[in-house]
């Protein structure tokens, strides 16, 4: 054995020396890296500090530098350039190029930098980017969301005429957030849009962009596509369109769980009108509708009020509780009583009352 190892034995001290040197160097690098970071607290990592007094014209060259190894410096230059009060000639092109860059990091950094400007130029470039690039749209939209309507409104309306449905979709999403009113003709045109994504986005936007959202929303409640119905139901609730409660109530029987869930939450939002529909549906033949109706009564606080009233001797309230129990919502009634127990901390009295009500 020993005869076979001398070369290795001879090399080992050298190997150890090299390893010890490498270990010491990397340990020193850890310490040096931290000390340097503490000293340059505000500097971005990997970016050569740009002279703060550098005029915007001098930022154009690094902002246009497409070499991969200069990427972080380019981002820093773009940020500085976009924050300049007066943009030098060629800056618009440099920022537009960055927004069209195949590299996500460059593109998103340019978007954030432009959003910080929040002016017409920035809005124009960002809206164009939203239309032309499929990837990263969520982030671009989040930046555009921060713009004032007077700056971005007109540009967004232009997106609705685009032949690409995904562009119309994003236009509507942002118009809904900006609360820029759409004309009845435009709404009519969008209700008939061939893309369900666009129709769903319209439903979501309507409470904010229509002077009278009830009519269009009620029509969208009957859409063939389930997620359009989901958005229409949610929007009806959000807009408190109480005359639509009956139509929303019908959706508690929908074949899609998501639609039933949205309808249930909308009925809660609709207050008394929603509660009336839920009470009506407690005896429905559809077990899902019965469950959802009972949950509406719970989430709206109606059941809690009924329990309190029943304990106080209200027979109508007791009868409703019994109806809900008959509808299969026994656990839900139990939960309501348990909540009341927690509230008044008089378990014995409540237990007694509960028996009375159940009888």
């Amino acid at each position: 054995m020993q005869a076979s190892v001398p070369p290795m034995a001879a090399a080992l001290p050298l190997i150890i020396f090299v390893l010890a040197a490498a270990w010491s160097t990397t340990a020193a690098a850890v310490v040096a890296s931290r000390l340097r970071a503490d000293r340059l607290r505000t500097r971005r990592r990997g970016v050569r500090r740009l002279d703060p007094t550098l005029p915007p014209e001098r930022l154009l060259a690094p902002a246009r530098d497409r070499r991969a190894r200069k990427k972080w410096g380019r981002i820093e230059a773009l940020r500085r350039l976009a924050s300049s009060d007066s943009l030098p000639e060629g800056a618009r092109e440099a920022l537009a190029d960055a927004l069209a860059d195949p590299d996500d990091d460059v593109r998103l950094a340019a978007a954030s930098a432009l959003a910080a400007r929040a002016d017409q130029l920035a809005a124009g470039l960002l809206v164009a980017s939203l239309a032309d690039r499929r990837d990263g749209r969520t982030r671009i939209a989040a930046e555009l969301e921060t713009f004032a309507v007077r700056i971005v409104g007109q540009l967004l309306h232009g997106l609705l005429d685009d032949e690409r449905s995904d562009v119309r979709f994003w236009g509507l999403q942002l118009i809904g957030r900006s609360r820029a009113i759409l004309s009845p003709d435009r709404i009519e045109q969008l209700i008939a849009d061939e893309s369900p994504d666009v129709r769903a986005a319209l439903a979501e936007a309507l409470p904010n962009v229509a002077a009278h959202p009830a009519g269009p929303l009620l029509r969208l409640l009957e859409d063939d596509v389930w997620f359009v119905r989901v958005h229409a139901a949610r929007a009806l609730g959000e807009a408190r369109v109480t005359p639509g409660a009956a139509a929303v109530g019908e959706l508690l029987r929908d074949r899609s769980w998501w639609v039933r869930d949205a309808a249930e939450k909308a009925l809660v939002e609709l207050g008394d009108a929603g509660v009336r529909q839920a009470i009506r549906l407690l005896d429905d033949a559809d077990p899902f509708a019965r469950d959802s109706a009972a949950e509406v009564l719970q989430e709206s606080g109606h059941l809690d009020r009924c329990v309190a009233a029943a304990i106080a001797g209200d027979e109508a309230a007791a009868a409703l509780i019994e109806r809900a129990r008959q509808a299969g919502a026994g656990r839900l009634i139990d939960a309501t009583f348990a909540r009341r127990q927690q509230l008044v901390r008089l378990p014995a009295i409540d237990e007694e009352a509960r028996e009375l009500v159940t009888l």
């Binding site: 270990w23 850890v30 982030r139 939960a335 909540r339």
Partner: protein
């Protein structure tokens, strides 16, 4: 063949294995270093201020599976609820705890009984009660019969309403920006990024550690916890970052794992037939997406998204690591069809073989190396000086890997005090003699447990909390 000749061959096997393993470790560490530096710079360049406020930011359901976690659960849930993220919900499933976990939650978050009709997409044990917090309506607590962590997570999935879910452990305390840090790359490309995990710090009491400001955070004084911190750092920052770059990131840890919900539906949720659920799920998703040729990314990040509790006694550590070894063996065996198959790309050709080399073979070869080298040195078959030099070389290799991990960690996070970083650097080479033997013993027990078909959780006892 004589005993000496057999020993000689054994020594060659051990050296060969060491060369192969450390060669692959350093290759991965180099890739991880590049990836870590890139991600840190990317994070700097990425201005998320609009996304933190935006309704376009994809909402997340945060899922807890909790069994007898009365001690850490409240701080953990509070840390999630305090996150700066536009829209999320928190679903805590109490998996039949017997230590008053539900009472603690009820008291802390003013839970009120509710009945919520949910989609039963995943099988789970019966539910005993559903509660919503009166203090924060984003929090739902589901009390169910005990069925194990995977069963509880499946139950939580039934209640999850959002497109992405984040599974975290009851002893994990998140940083305020953890959700945004985890979702940052998802928001860029939600069609492709289906899973994200990230590194966590180790502490005796994570909630106390997380209160310390960035740059001033301490490493626990107990060496056992410091060694675990190094173990995590090496695992995430010199291995998983590299796996992530080549898209064979094979273990999204249960302490912080983001998944796209439809992917979990597609693969049938968490499996209850394995000792742990996290690594197996990651393997299963890779297997399906590679087989079907779907584009996807599962990423591991270098940002410390929180802290999690580490065992403070050797006994507890052995129990934890023994379980990890069992589940690795169960998982690799269950998905052995991917091994060396070009159809599975980097997962089959690099990821699974690496697991076999560094995780399955490791307990046997580490034990064999220890025995063979000790016997060879004791009997004079190899020079005792050579033996010591070999040990020193391995210790320095570990120290070097540790330093690379610390470089990436500090470059990315700037969390710890300088003096604690120095302490960690100094502990790196000592890992071989002070910490590694414990892990080797735990792994050996894990192998025995696997062969015996043991599937117990063997949870370590939570550390007692000092008064706040």
């Amino acid at each position: 063949m004589s005993v000496a000749a057999e020993l000689r061959w054994a020594v060659y096997v051990c050296f060969g294995y060491l060369l192969l393993v450390y060669g692959s470790y350093f290759a991965l560490a180099a890739v991880s270093f590049v990836e870590g530096v890139f991600r840190a710079r990317q994070s700097d360049a990425d201005d998320m201020r609009s996304a933190v406020q935006s309704r376009f930011t994809i909402p997340v359901s945060v899922l807890f599976a909790v069994y007898n976690e009365a001690l850490p659960i409240v701080e953990s849930v509070r840390s999630v609820l305090a996150n700066d993220y536009p829209e999320f919900e928190v679903i805590v499933v109490n998996d039949g705890s017997t230590d008053g976990t539900l009472d603690v939650l009820t008291e802390a978050f003013q839970l009120q009984p509710r009945e919520i009709f949910y989609r039963r997409q995943f099988d789970a044990q019966p539910i005993r009660g559903i509660y919503r917090s009166a203090a924060d309506p984003r929090l739902i607590v589901v009390d169910k019969a005990n069925g194990g962590k995977a069963d509880a997570l499946n139950c939580a999935l039934n209640f999850a309403r959002y497109r992405y879910v984040l599974g975290i452990d009851a002893d994990t305390v998140l940083a305020r920006n953890a959700l945004m840090a985890g979702m940052r790359l998802v928001l860029r490309d939600p069609a492709t990024v289906i899973g994200v995990t990230s590194i966590l710090a180790i502490a005796e009491q994570p909630e106390l550690r997380m209160r310390e400001p960035r740059g001033q955070r301490r490493i626990d004084r107990r060496p056992l916890l410091a060694f675990q911190q190094l173990d995590y750092a090496r695992s995430f920052l010199t291995a998983r970052l590299g796996w992530s770059r080549f898209n064979f990131m094979l273990c999204s840890v249960g302490a912080f794992a983001i998944w796209r919900r439809d992917v979990l539906e597609e693969v049938g949720g968490f499996s209850t037939t394995f000792t742990c659920e996290d690594i197996e799920l990651t393997f299963r998703i890779h297997e399906r997406y590679r087989r079907l040729g779907k584009p996807y990314r599962i990423l591991s990040l270098a940002e410390t998204v929180g802290a999690t509790e580490g065992p403070t006694s050797v006994r507890s550590l052995i129990r934890q690591r023994e379980r990890w070894q069992r589940v690795i063996m169960e998982t690799v065996y269950a998905h052995r069809a991917m091994l060396g198959r070009p159809r599975y790309g980097t997962v089959g050709m690099v990821g699974v073989p690496f697991y076999v080399l560094s995780e399955i073979a490791a307990p046997f070869v580490e034990l064999l190396s220890f025995l063979v080298l000790t016997v060879a040195a004791a009997t004079g078959l190899i020079d005792f000086r050579l033996f010591l030099l070999t040990v020193a070389a391995i210790a320095l290799l570990n120290g070097l890997l540790t330093n690379i991990a610390l470089l990436v960690d500090d470059y990315t996070n700037r969390l710890y005090r300088l003096r604690d970083l120095v302490r960690l650097c100094l502990l790196g080479p000592l890992d071989l003699v002070l910490y590694r033997p414990i892990i080797v013993a735990a792994r050996a027990r894990g192998v025995v447990g696997y062969l015996r078909g043991d599937q117990g959780w063997n949870k370590f006892e939570r550390n007692v909390r000092a008064p706040a």
